[in-house]
Symmetry: C2
Subunit: 112 residues, 2 copies
DNA sequence: AGTCGTTATGATCGTTCATCATAACGACAA
DNA sequence: TTGTCGTTATGATGAACGATCATAACGACT
């Protein structure tokens, strides 16, 4: 029995960024590739790529810079815009997480 | 472009109460019937009944007192436990809503 | 007895999300 | 120059879940 929540940014009724998607972007930044990030997130590459592509079109801004082929097959880095975007969202999410725990303890008691 | 969120109570990994479900319960209390509540929520009766039934089994507590047949076909009222439960959740949700608006304005600015 | 609006539940259908499969790319090594 | 390898990119398919349709049971009131 615990409080859970999700937080996302909506653009024209569509998800532009969410807690899960933020974690996906962090994984891409950490590993330098979408495929490695997908593996860590426990999802197929296809799904990861699709989510990122969705976000780009909805935000109207490039979030990743990709390179196909090459020595190690290529790779993917976050754009500066994406990094900034992500940093702000993370700070927001962190503040929210603390608030949720406090507010739940303060005024929620099970009748039973 | 706006922040959105959902809030729910989880029990063994399953949803026991959420913003949407809370609104459903309020509609039941207001109209005195599940069918009327379902219509207001824009969903089939079947769905409303199922969600309520789910919550009851997951919480291990009766949330509604129903009566079938009779003058106007019957009806459904909330149990005192459900009313208390709902009241607390609503207060929680209200506090959260205010916080979200503040925190978003405070530390989220679009790069662009 | 018959009607009516409700609760209760079985059965089916559609849509979306996850997964499988294939093509293109390019640095490096042989 | 040709082959290999791991990556990006995208088409095609499958499966799970939620929404919807359809039917039965109930009981006060006329």
């Amino acid at each position: 029995m615990q409080p859970r929540y999700n937080l996302w940014i909506e653009i024209d009724g569509q998800v532009g960024l969410s807690l899960w998607r933020a974690e996906l972007l962090r994984a891409v930044a950490r590993h330098g590739s979408i495929s490695a990030a997908a593996e860590q997130m426990g999802i197929p590459y296809r799904t990861a790529w699709q989510k990122i592509h969705e976000m780009e079109t909805r935000l109207g801004q490039k979030l990743v810079a990709t390179q196909t082929g090459g020595a190690h097959g290529g790779g993917t880095r976050l754009t500066p815009a994406a990094a900034l975007y992500l940093e702000q969202f993370d700070r927001f999410a962190h503040d929210l997480d603390r608030f949720i725990a406090e507010a739940f303890a303060a005024n929620f008691h099970l009748p039973d």
